[in-house]
């Protein structure tokens, strides 16, 4: 989202306030900022096929603003760890309906898979992703919303292509597919316990 903000601000005279919805004690101020904005983008990671609980709490706090004529336009960014964008298309339908419920003009939902581990990826892996988000930012004002072409580049296919499916299955068979999690587990000295079932006993 920093890339988006950079692009948006560099395309001339725009003000961006980034609000962290996980600061739940600041909810009244966050709702107030929502009211005063021209555009709002709500970005979140997919949690059990939907929005995180604290994002739902923020949404519930917006109820008094439903149908308000001065509501900002609203767009969404949904990132998931699964490679396929399809996982996020279900909450996307909810988000489009949410815009209608609020009476806010719907900007669209940017969906991006394979999001886990971005913060530890080297720059050659994140360059393209960051470039796309920067471009979404620079084009936002002129297009009065998310550029559709860039959104398509971020989610080119809903399901894995035959080639990518073959590649993932091969990774899986050779045990290399879990490289990221195995690395984390080993760093935490928890690799041997990776298949633990802590709730197996009834007590």
């Amino acid at each position: 989202m920093d890339q988006f903000t950079k692009g948006f601000c560099e395309s001339g005279g725009n003000e961006v306030e980034t609000v962290y919805v996980n600061r739940t004690k600041e909810l009244p101020e966050q709702v107030d900022l929502f009211k005063k904005a021209d555009h709002v983008i709500l970005a979140f990671p997919l949690y059990t096929d939907a929005m995180p609980g604290l994002v739902k709490a923020f949404i519930e706090a917006l109820e008094p603003l439903c149908g308000r004529s001065e509501n900002p336009s609203i767009g969404f960014v949904v990132q998931s760890g699964f490679p396929e964008p399809n996982h996020s298309r279900f909450v996307e339908r909810y988000l489009e309906k949410l815009s209608k419920r609020l009476g806010s003009r719907y900007q669209g939902t940017v969906v991006r898979g394979s999001g886990e581990g971005i913060k530890i990826q080297p720059s050659w892996m994140t360059r393209k992703l960051f470039k796309h988000f920067y471009e979404l930012g620079t084009k936002f004002t002129d297009e009065n919303g998310f550029n559709r072409e860039v959104m398509r580049k971020l989610a080119p296919r809903e399901q894995l292509s035959k080639g990518r499916l073959f590649f993932f299955r091969l990774l899986d068979k050779t045990g290399k597919g879990n490289f990221y999690w195995d690395m984390q587990l080993k760093q935490n000295k928890a690799f041997e316990k990776r298949f633990d079932k802590p709730y197996q006993s009834k007590d």
């Binding site: 996980n22 739940t24 990671p45 949690y47 059990t48 096929d49 939907a50 929005m51 995180p52 609980g53 604290l54 739902k56 709490a57 949404i59 519930e60 917006l62 109820e63 439903c66 699964f82 490679p83 396929e84 399809n86 996982h87 279900f90 909450v91 339908r93 909810y94 309906k97 949410l98 419920r101 399901q159 894995l160 499916l165 993932f168 299955r169 899986d172 597919g177 879990n178 999690w181 984390q184 587990l185 760093q187 935490n188 928890a190 316990k193 990776r194 298949f195 633990d196 079932k197 802590p198 709730y199 197996q200 009834k202």
Partner: protein, 183 residues
Amino acid sequence: MKILILDGNPDPNNTQFEEYLADLTKEIHGLDNEVKQIKLRDLNIRYCTGCWGCWAKTPGKCVFPDESHDVCREYIHSDFVLMASPVLMGFTSALLKKTQDRLIGLLHPYFEFVENETHHLGRYEKYPKNGLLLDRSQNTDDEDIQIIKDMFRRFSLNFKTELAFFGLMAQDTKEVARAIDNI
């Protein structure tokens, strides 16, 4: 059947919701099932922060010591879990959602393929079937209901199970109890 009912109603003044669930519990119990109901608003359950401790530090268990652990244990030892919630802003409550988030440790971070799509690997041998019971608000329409149903079907798919029951609180409790008993 061993049945767990997760009461996702955040409002103690919504007595209609609570009376319905109490009646439903009685009906299900009358059909010779073991029923346990958990009122989620009475538990200390924090929001998931996405720290991945439950996957990479203490595999299978959240690092935060609150009452979500009790819910996880009850969940995995049940045959059927009924999630009940009012519809707020077009979806189930934040209270129920944050509880679902804290169940993620019951799954493994590794992926597996289900119908050519990646999903999380199961951690346990057996997962309970899911049910969802909604209490519509005045501004809930049929599109909302369909969206919620489809999202919960996806939740069940990821939780190695199926959405075996879906109903609204407009239905008679005897009818709902019978439908659940037949699962």
